[in-house]
């Protein structure tokens, strides 16, 4: 467990040493909450309460931002090693790949919980959105988001390890690319058939469908959520396998030893 603690402790040192690392954890989610909160409040005022915009929009933004934070929590902890060219130092130790990934994941969970607390505080105090109305469903929702966020984060790390530091720029837009398919702000029935087929492979799509059903007081489909969680779990296993495979391949080809600030393709 101590090597895992090392990865987490390193991230703690970095955040303590430079507040600019903490700011993005809370700043972007706070801005999103305020922006979407007021938009939802305005839509509620012109809509005459036919649709619960505060619940639907703000809830969707909160969950999607949380997913993004979790994913970026994993990748940012990994990028610290890329930016400081620390691969040789880290991977020449007895550290196992599973321990390294575990350290990245714990770091992501801890930093995401900070972001989640800020979002819940703003959504509840400023806009009166009560997440308790989701009841116990909140637990599988969070589980699904954490599993999928971590899976995508690990996948992004594998991609950067394989393609080189420059491919970091391919990582940032991933949540934005997935959002239209995940049905964050609208029901999946809105989408054309081919897009819906993609949606069914994305775990968050099941969450947002379930959330909208709860807020509209429609019956929910627990099996849909179960499929979402199972898919997220499968994605996580596949992402970890892929990272481990890319790492082994980088050790074989010499990429890991030569990893530098330039493209390693």
């Amino acid at each position: 467990m101590r090597p895992v603690a090392a990865i987490v402790l390193r991230q703690y040192y970095l955040m303590r040493g430079n507040p600019t690392r903490i700011l993005p954890i809370v700043a972007w989610v706070a801005i999103d909450m305020v922006l979407w909160g007021f938009l939802a409040r305005y839509l509620d005022s012109v809509n005459g309460q036919r649709i619960n915009f505060i619940g639907n929009l703000l809830g969707a933004v909160l969950f999607w931002d949380l997913f993004t934070r979790i994913m970026q929590g994993v990748t940012l902890a990994f990028f610290e090693d890329v930016w400081s060219r620390n691969f040789v130092n880290v991977f020449a130790t007895p550290l196992l790949i599973s321990e390294y990934l575990c350290g990245l994941v714990i770091t992501a969970i801890l930093t995401s919980l900070v972001g989640l607390a800020v979002m819940l505080l703003l959504a509840t105090i400023v806009f009166g959105l009560s997440f308790l109305s989701l009841g116990l469903l909140l637990l599988p929702y969070l589980l699904l988001l954490f599993l999928f966020g971590i899976a995508l984060g690990v996948l992004a790390c594998a991609m950067v390890l394989r393609l080189g530091p420059v491919s970091e720029w391919l990582v940032w837009p991933i949540p934005a690319l997935l959002a239209p398919f995940a049905g964050v702000f609208y029901p999946l029935s809105t989408l054309p058939t081919w897009m819906r087929a993609v949606s069914h492979a994305l775990p968050p799509a099941y969450l947002f469908e379930s959330m909208r059903a709860v807020l509209a007081h429609h019956p929910t489909r627990p099996e849909g959520l179960a499929i979402g969680i199972a898919l997220a779990l499968l994605d996580l296993v596949l992402a970890c396998w892929l990272f481990s495979h890319v790492h082994r391949s980088a050790v074989r080809s010499g990429l890991l030893a030569r990893y530098s600030a330039e493209s390693a393709v």
């Binding site: 040192y13 040493g17 991977f91 020449a92 030893a257």
Partner: protein
């Protein structure tokens, strides 16, 4: 296994059963058509400093990277303290550490934070006490809370060595550890490393382009060229044995040999007793 005079003196009868700090057998690394390391075999007994010499691109860093487990050999075996690196990687690397000019520690962490980070990675017992001990030993206490990126090259070298000793390794790999130091600081570091090999019975593999340093520090040297060990022996005797006045002259002669066709041809011009690797 053939040992040099200096290492033979260090051997005691009971040591016969003790595995070498490092044993490399038939190590080979091929990148596509390029053969970077070709059938390299050698060992580093405990308490001995072995110099790995050769021109740029000779295969020294590839060899070190393979011993560190960050580069997979195409073939061959590496064993550290009798533990096979391929099958018991974590256990083997727990006995190893290194300092290299191309692997500086993260500049955004302080000296103490870096040492704590790596102490945890190496699972060092009583890491707080060990860090304090190393801060004292390498005169880093006043810099403990300074970010490593702000250290001078000499201070960074001292920190890299302190990090390399965190887990009291049985095998220490030093890739040009004094490259950026002034002569006085380099001399101090060399003394420290020699004392360490002697007192802690630590095997050290050392690469350097400074032939004076190699001659004064290493018990044995291996000359690598085009990925192959051309020559091996006592750095104080090798020049005389091969008609050179200094180790540097011998180095220059070896690196300028027309090795393009076959390194072995050049090796044939060298006295048989010191040619090619370890004889078993």
């Amino acid at each position: 296994m053939r040992l040099s005079a200096t290492s033979a003196a260090a051997c005691i009868p009971a040591a016969a059963a003790i595995p070498a700090a490092l044993s490399v057998q038939g190590l080979r690394k091929q990148y596509g058509p390029l053969l970077a390391v070709d059938e390299v075999s050698f060992s580093v007994p405990r308490g001995q400093i072995v110099g790995l010499l050769g021109p740029n691109g000779a295969g020294k860093t590839s060899t070190i990277n393979m011993i560190l487990g960050i580069l997979q050999p195409t073939s061959g075996n590496i064993s550290i303290e009798g533990l096979d690196l391929a099958s018991r990687r974590s256990e083997a690397l727990a006995h190893t550490n290194f300092a290299a000019v191309y692997a500086s520690l993260p500049g955004n962490l302080t000296v103490r934070q870096n040492l704590r980070f790596f102490a945890l990675l190496y699972d060092v017992a009583d890491c707080g006490g060990r860090i304090e001990q190393l801060l004292e030993e390498f005169e880093l206490r006043a810099l403990a809370d300074t970010r490593c990126g702000l250290l001078s090259s000499g201070e960074q070298t001292r920190l890299a060595l302190a990090k390399a000793l965190l887990n009291q390794p049985r095998l220490l790999l030093l890739d040009e550890p004094t490259a950026s130091l002034d002569p006085s600081a380099a001399d101090l570091i060399r003394r420290r490393i020699r004392a360490m090999a002697r007192e802690r019975r630590c095997g050290i593999l050392w690469t350097s382009h400074n032939m004076y340093e190699v001659q004064s520090t290493c018990d044995r040297v291996l000359f690598l060229s085009h990925g192959r060990v051309l020559l091996e022996g006592d750095p104080r005797r090798l020049p005389v044995e091969h008609g050179a006045t200094t180790l540097e002259e011998l180095f220059i002669r070896l690196t300028r040999e027309p090795l393009g066709s076959d390194a072995a041809d050049a090796a044939d011009t060298i006295a048989p007793e010191s040619r090619r690797g370890i004889s078993s």
